[in-house]
Structure formats: structure tokens, C-alpha cells
């Protein structure tokens, strides 16, 4: 309970400081942009893993990430098109992308088991942060019912990813 709570608070701080600094909840176009960006980041990380790893479990996990995150993002694109909403870039999306680019560069330098461990650990931390942000900030802030529902589906599937990542990370130790 305490661990969960503190993880959620940490995630909240990571993803929402920019939005909170502006003193406002993110708007639906911003939420759509943040959620889509978060998916793109994890797909890029998975593709890097697929090009670098020789580990069967890491490979299967990365393939799951590409498949599920692409499915969610495809649905998100269909939804914004249907709602005639243009996703709006914002400080949270920008800091997410910047951190992700740094992480990709950091992981690019690693090889073999070292890479696998670092990738798995980052996937645990990343999904924890995203799930925390979805739960505490993005879902409560979303006003459109369809957007909220897609975010809820996302949360459910990403919680599964978080568990899966923990499992893969534990097996590497």
C-alpha cells in the first residue's frame, strides 16, 4: 500500500509537474498528446531492444510492447480524428520525449545482459510512472467519455505490462 502510494506520487511528480506549474489540469487535446507520446516512447524502446537483445524473454516482452502500444495508439488516432481534436504538444509531452531520448542514448551504449537488465528495469519504472499518471492525473482530467474510456483500457493493459516487466526483470537477476 505504502509502496504503491509513493510510486504513484513519484509518477505524478514526474509527469505532471509541467502541467501543474501552469496551474491547470491538462486539456483533452493535451492528454491525447501525452498518452500518444507515452506510447511512441515505449514502442521506440521496444524496437531498440529487438535490435539489440539475444534474450528470448526480452524479445517476447518487447514484441508485446510494440503490438499493444501500437494498437492503443492506432485507436487514439482514430478517436482524435472522429472527435476532430488536434492533439496539442505541451511541456509534459516534451519532457517525456526528452527523457526518453536520453534513455535511448544511454541504453544504446550497453550490450548483452547489461542491456537486457537496464531495459527491463527501465520498462518497470516507465510503466509504473505512466500508470501512476494515468490513474492520478490523465484519467481524472479527461472530459470526453470516449477518451476517458480509452485511457482506462490503456491503464488496464499497461498494468499488465508493468507486472510482465517486473517478472522479466526478476528472472534476469
Amino acid at each position: 500500500m505504502f509502496v504503491r502510494l509513493s510510486a504513484a506520487i513519484a509518477a505524478f511528480g514526474l509527469l505532471s509537474s509541467a502541467a501543474l506549474a501552469q496551474g491547470a489540469k491538462p486539456t483533452d487535446p493535451q492528454i491525447a498528446h501525452i498518452a500518444y507520446t507515452a506510447g511512441v516512447i515505449d514502442i521506440a524502446a521496444a524496437k531498440q531492444a529487438l535490435s539489440k537483445t539475444g534474450n528470448k524473454d526480452i524479445k517476447a516482452f518487447a514484441q508485446d510492447m510494440v503490438r499493444d502500444h501500437e494498437a492503443v495508439n492506432k485507436q487514439a488516432l482514430n478517436l482524435v480524428k472522429k472527435l476532430k481534436v488536434t492533439p496539442e504538444d505541451n511541456d509534459t509531452s516534451r519532457s517525456l520525449s526528452k527523457n526518453a531520448a536520453d534513455k535511448l542514448a544511454e541504453l544504446a551504449k550497453l550490450k548483452g545482459a547489461e542491456f537486457d537488465k537496464a531495459y527491463a528495469a527501465n520498462e518497470v519504472a516507465y510503466h509504473k510512472a505512466v500508470d501512476g499518471a494515468l490513474e492520478t492525473l490523465l484519467i481524472p482530467s479527461a472530459t470526453n467519455a470516449e477518451l476517458k474510456s480509452l485511457l482506462q483500457t490503456g491503464l488496464k493493459i499497461f498494468q499488465g505490462h508493468e507486472q510482465h516487466a517486473e517478472h522479466v526483470a526478476a528472472a534476469l537477476k
Binding site: D68, A71, V72, K74, Q75, T153, K156, G160, Q163, H164
Partner: protein, 105 residues
């Protein structure tokens, strides 16, 4: 006299045949990462209709290795049951999705 006897005999034969030959279709859906019903029963020869209502690819993978069905998003896939027995199955991509299918002879 003869017609009176033949009628029940024919009836018994027809019903006997229909009980063993009438295969049924059992629908199991996967929606919002949940398999329902979580416990289903069917018989050998029946068809399972897996209805994937999600935007994700799912599988119905028997833990004993009997079958492994892949369902693309928003698609229905069928499987004819060939062996009796209780089967625990799950989705390989989303292992939190678990269910049991009891196949009678």
C-alpha cells in the same frame, strides 16, 4: 398394428442420433482484457467461438498444449473440440486473462 410400433422406434432412433451428432456452438468473449464466461462447459465435437471484442491481439492457449488459438483484434475465431477434459487456458500476450473450459466426452 405395424405402424404403431414403428413410430416409437423411429422416434428413438432419430432422437438418439440427434443427441450424439448435434454439435453446439459455445461463445466465449474476450473484452476489456477479461475472458467471459471464465468457466465454460462444452462437449467433444462442439465448436468454440472466440469473440475478441478488444483492439488487442489475444490468444486462447491451453496450458496442457492441446490448442493455441490466436484472435486478431475485433475478430471471431472458431475451434472444434477434439479431446475431453478440463482445460485451463490463458492469453499468452496478457497472462492475467485466464479461464477454464471443461470438455465433456
Amino acid at each position: 398394428m405395424t405402424p404403431r410400433w414403428t413410430l416409437p422406434i423411429v422416434a428413438v432412433l432419430v432422437s438418439g442420433i440427434s443427441v450424439s451428432a448435434r454439435a453446439e456452438t459455445v461463445q466465449i468473449s474476450m473484452e476489456n482484457l477479461v475472458i467471459s464466461p471464465a468457466e465454460a462447459t462444452a462437449k467433444v465435437g462442439d465448436t468454440i467461438e472466440w469473440v475478441n471484442k478488444d483492439i488487442f491481439v489475444h490468444t486462447a492457449t491451453a496450458r496442457n498444449g492441446d490448442w493455441d488459438v490466436t484472435m486478431p483484434p475485433k475478430k471471431t475465431v472458431t475451434l472444434v473440440l477434439k479431446k475431453a477434459g478440463p482445460i485451463d487456458y490463458y492469453c499468452r500476450f496478457h497472462p492475467n486473462m485466464k479461464a477454464t473450459l471443461t470438455v465433456g466426452p
